[in-house]
Symmetry: C2
Subunit: 218 residues, 2 copies
Amino acid sequence: MAKQRSHNPDHSSAYPAPVRELLEELARLPGIGRRSAERLALHLLKSDAADAMSLADAIARVKTEVGQCPVCFNFTDGDACAVCRDERRDPSMVLVVEQPRDLISLEQTGMYRGVYHVLLGRISPLEGVSEDDLTIGALLARIDTPERNAGGARVEEVILGLNPTLEGDGTALYLQQAVAKRGVKVSRLARGLPTGSQLEYANKAVLADAILGRQSVR
Amino acid sequence: MAKQRSHNPDHSSAYPAPVRELLEELARLPGIGRRSAERLALHLLKSDAADAMSLADAIARVKTEVGQCPVCFNFTDGDACAVCRDERRDPSMVLVVEQPRDLISLEQTGMYRGVYHVLLGRISPLEGVSEDDLTIGALLARIDTPERNAGGARVEEVILGLNPTLEGDGTALYLQQAVAKRGVKVSRLARGLPTGSQLEYANKAVLADAILGRQSVR
C-alpha cells in the first residue's frame, strides 16, 4: 500500500458524535480509562436497546430516588434508612463510620445489631476538611436529644469505626472527647492481626496493636 | 463485642433498591465485576446530579441516534457514515473488516484513503455464524451494482482486513472466491513481523509469514 499517503486523519470524527459524547462521559468514571470507555461504549451500541435503556434509567433513578437518612446519613430511598427503620436493631448503640461503603461492609458480617452514624468523611487538615464539614453535629444531637435518634432511643454507647489511618485516628480522638464529655460510653473497633494473615508478614504497627490489645482467653 | 450475635443479615437490603438495581445493571457490562460496579455506583451517587444525568442521557442518545451506515455498516448518526460521505475518499477501494472497532483502528493510522465494508462478524461454524449472518450480500451488491457503493463508484479493489485468525482466514478465503469471481482485484493486509517487536520472540507462524511475504527492497 505504498501509494497510500497520510491524509488529514481527523481521528475523533471516526465515531459519530453521540458515540464520542458517550465515550467522554464513560471516561470520566473512576477507574475507566479511554480503552475501557471504548469497550463499554461498543458494548452498549451492540446490546439491546432495552438493556442499554435500563442502565440509563437506573442511573437516573439512583440520582432522583436515593437520598441521605436524616438520622444516620446512610443511603436511603425513603425517609429513614433501612437500618434505622429496622425495629430489630438496638438504637442505643451507634457505630460511627466515615462512608456509607464502610456501613455496608460491616452489615455484610451480619455481626452488628446496633445502628450507625455516617460522618461522610474524616477530619483532614491537608484537604481542608474540618469537623464542621462532617455530620458530627448531627451525631451529638442524637446523643443530646433522643428524639433525633432512631426510635427515639437514648444513645448509650458510641463505637468508633473510623479507618485505622492517621486522619481516621485524629477524627476518632476528636469524637472520643466530644462524646465522653456527654457521659456516653465510647469504644472503638478492635485492632490486631487480620484473621487469615501471617504473623511474619505483619508490619510493626499491626504487631504493636496485637500486643497492646491482647485479649484474655482464660 | 462478644455479646453481639449474628442476626438475620439480609445483606442485599443494605443498599436501597435503586442502588441495588444500578449495581445489577453496571455489573452486566463487560469487564465490570461486582466490586467495580459498586465503586461506579457509589461514584454516581456522590457526583453531581447533572454529571450523572449526562451519562444517562449519553447512553440513551447513543441507542436512539446511532445506527448502521446503509452502505458499509459502520456506525453513523445520519444516513451514510462519515467515511462514505467524505468526498476525499476513494470509493473504488473497499477494505473489508469484521467490526466497526477494526475500522476505527485503521482510521487512526491515517494511512488509508479508500472506503470500508464492515461484516459485523466472521464465519464461525462453531458459533453457528454462517455467511448469511454477515453483511457479505451487501458487499457483493456494492460490487455488482455501483449505485449501492459510496458515491455510486465502481469497486475496483477489495482489501481483506479480517483478523489473522483461523476464522478470519476462513472468512477471507470465502470472500476471496466470491469477489474474484466478479473480476475485481482482491488483496489482503500484509502479514509479517510486527514493527517494534523482537525477532527472537516471534512465533513460528509470524516468522513463516515474514519469510513467505518478504518484500523486495531494491
